[in-house]
Subunit: 205 residues, 3 copies
């Protein structure tokens, strides 16, 4: 049940982040739809292909309907002049929600395939950052996962936390939403305060 909820939340949030990113780059209508689509589906499709499944985006009407619906809502807000939705913080918030939600679905999918600690963490990471990495590459930006000091590490934390809660049978009803909300809040605080990880200094050549 939580899996479906996080899948819906992540799909809508990443579709919206892709819509905003495409609109900010002044892509045309199809370009905006493509970027929204790939952002919302690439991470999940990657993890499903890695595990030998046919990506659900090809067969599942819910996912494609959610993405198109999100783009239509975005266009309605855009064309009715309510443009505040395209501001920077809207993008960051949608991206943070998508990151946390897809890290949850990636970790859950990994557990259902019997992966161990490392595989669960890696799949949470790939599912969560795959869409945003493709989005930023397509519009010509440096991917946020490389640019931002405290982004991909959150997906890693989520994967570790989901694995630990599953193995130790900690609060199966409360743990998933708690981890998800904690991850979103952590990402927004990290963005607002400009948290970063230690940087390796460049040696003389």
């Amino acid at each position: 049940m939580w899996f479906t909820a996080f899948d819906i939340i992540g799909t809508v949030a990443f579709a919206y982040s892709g819509f905003v990113a495409g609109a900010r780059r002044q892509l045309d209508l199809l370009g905006v739809v493509i970027v929204a689509f790939l952002t919302a589906s690439a991470g999940g499709a990657l993890s499903q292909v890695l595990l030998g499944e046919v990506p659900r985006i090809l067969t599942d009407r819910l996912a494609s309907g959610l993405i198109f619906g999100t783009v239509l809502v975005g266009l309605a807000l855009h064309w009715t002049g309510i443009r505040r939705v395209e501001r920077r913080w809207t993008f960051v918030t949608a991206d943070a929600i998508g990151l946390a939600a897809f890290a949850m679905t990636g970790a859950t999918l990994a557990l259902s395939h019997g992966l161990a600690f490392f595989g669960t963490t890696l799949l949470a990471f790939l599912t969560a950052v795959g869409g945003g990495l493709l989005r930023d590459s397509l519009i010509g930006d440096i991917p946020v996962v490389l640019r931002s000091g405290f982004y991909g590490i959150i997906a890693v934390f989520v994967g570790m936390a989901v694995y630990a809660c599953d193995r130790l049978a900690i609060a199966p009803d409360i743990a998933p939403p708690a981890i998800f909300i904690g991850a979103v809040v952590l990402r927004l605080i990290a963005h607002a305060r400009g948290w970063s990880l230690p940087v390796l200094t460049l040696p003389d050549d």
Copy 2:
């Protein structure tokens, strides 16, 4: 039968577009072969991997033979001084033919796997634009599917038309070549006239 014909047409056309793109960027011989190869095989390989098949480029001698043959013909034309083949319109024409042919094979493959309307359209799109997107990324261009106003939408139209003709059993002998030719012509007209889709304007931040 039509599937094989469109597969051959698309492979040769995209291999040639990759050869021309690589030659225009003054890549070395292997670079030109790599770009021709990936352009001609990436879209088909992507759709086959998504559907759980082993990409035919790994096992099928016809496809690899066609690509190498196309590069050899291109090199012969290049080195014999008949350089007009590398002009801009040659590239655009080869790219338009590849786009239409691979949209046909992607849609046909999707139907043979029992995908519904949306899955068929998506697979037509991914098969058709995958190779060109990789080609443009490799040589450092913004992908034509994001740059051009009326490119990816043609693959979407092809996917929808193939699905509709299949479900409504419209002219199974004549529909595939008609859709293909229509798509090539539409793309060339769109390029010549500079057609575009509506662009979303940039909001103040």
Copy 3:
């Protein structure tokens, strides 16, 4: 047996090349780990997905342990001030070893799946250049396989040589290490002397 040896060598070498590339770009700690990880695992994961296998990086603790161990050693060398390890030639050597080792594993994997001459060569190439291509794209460089005159061709040579030795049953005990060492030496000589392949000249448009 050789397969496992080359897999270990290639994983450590490419992880180290990714660590150095990330450190030179002054990425943060997680960025360096990500780049090391993707460089060391992307080529193998690609060839395994193409052949319908679940990538071993998701399930195999050895590979992930090797990558983390390599990054830890790199960090220890970096933070203890022994920075010479990050110089240009360290990167080129690690990259050459990874290229040769992963070309060996790609070709061996292809043979074990019954692929023919072309498929074996292609898989050797994709396995060997996949990680480096992703590494260079992530840090914003033009991929070395397109930039360098004599890089990808070495993976092609390895694929051809492994296929020939297997089919002609030439020295099964000595051929693998001989091909591997020959490939590393060839790449280093090619780099030192600036070897290149013929370049196609740009036509007037």
